[in-house]
């Protein structure tokens, strides 16, 4: 990643134009040609510096439900349990964390009423209790990362 890539990542984390030639317009603001910007973005995606280029949707406002869950899994059983949990399509993210509660995953469903059923199935399939920590309130301020 060079300075120009950094400028692109920093400048384009929002506000991509909604018009016929958005890359041309965004490129103009950066002092670039349309094709150069497109090629740079392609490379940033290929190198996985960007995970995506496009609209960032708010899944809850689309009608989906997110729910955080935590489990305490003995280290010797961790790989088996992780495989079972990850197998569920409703599990959107799963992180190992350094804590007694060492497995933290997020359930994402289009139908919020299905969350409880999925949690029971995960508990039954793994043999461990699942702590359910749904959000009661979110304080959202957009994070802009600096490249």
């Amino acid at each position: 990643m060079d300075d120009l890539d950094r400028r692109i990542v920093n400048a384009l984390q929002g506000g991509f134009p909604l018009c016929e030639r958005p890359f041309a317009e965004a490129a103009g603001r950066l002092g670039l040609e349309e094709q150069d910007l497109i090629r740079r973005i392609k490379n940033l995606l290929e190198s996985k510096t960007l995970t995506r280029f496009g609209p960032l949707y708010d899944a809850e406002r689309l009608g989906g439900a997110f729910s955080l869950c935590a489990m305490s899994v003995p280290p010797e059983d961790f790989a088996r349990v992780a495989a079972i949990v990850n197998e569920f399509p409703e599990v959107a993210h799963n992180y190992e964390r350094a804590h007694r509660l060492n497995m933290w995953f997020v359930l994402a469903t289009e139908d919020p009423s299905r969350i409880r059923g999925v949690i029971s199935r995960i508990a039954a399939a793994t043999g461990y209790p699942v702590l359910h920590l749904p959000r009661e309130k979110e304080f959202f301020v957009e994070l802009r990362l600096t490249a």
Binding site: S47, A98, W104, F140
Partner: protein, 156 residues
């Protein structure tokens, strides 16, 4: 969500086509005029279903590798205003109130902190600690040690 918006989400949730006229390419795929795609995206941006349009960086690739989940046990009466204050800190990406699950889980305020190394994270946690003062009875910091899965919600 109506059928068109849903189709638009499906067509764009993985990213925009990297061509000079991306919205026209999507319109062709959906069999609608380009203007409908532009209007639909504008509408979803205005009502918050789209948070923003542009580059979605990979935290780890940008060097933000010391990401921590800080959790705080704060007085219920002050939880809303404290959450607001913590959420407004520039290094906090997400801030939530969640239920306590006693006895195993005494924390009700969650703040995700992003930093480039462990020392920077520790400094930022201290800033939150100073901000909350005595209204936080206790806290803990959970570092992620491994990503086991990361896909996100997909609208089928």
């Amino acid at each position: 969500m109506n059928a068109f918006d849903r189709a638009l989400v499906q067509a764009t949730q993985g990213g925009l086509p990297l061509v000079p006229r991306p919205y026209e390419a999507i319109a062709r795929e959906l069999g609608v005029p380009e203007q409908d795609v532009l209007d639909g995206l504008r509408r979803m941006l205005a009502d918050g279903r789209i948070r923003r349009i542009g580059a979605v960086p990979n935290h780890y690739a940008l060097g933000y590798t010391a990401n921590a989940m800080s959790v705080w046990d704060v007085e219920d009466e002050a939880a809303e205003s404290l959450g607001q204050a913590v959420g407004a800190l520039p290094f906090v990406s997400h801030c939530y109130l969640r239920p306590r699950r006693l006895p195993e889980w005494p924390y009700n305020l969650f703040a995700m902190v992003h930093a480039k190394d462990r020392a920077e994270t520790v400094g930022k946690i201290h800033e939150i600690e100073a901000l909350l003062g005595e209204r936080a009875r206790r806290h803990d910091v959970l570092y992620s040690t491994r990503i086991l899965k990361k896909t996100g919600l997909r609208i089928a």
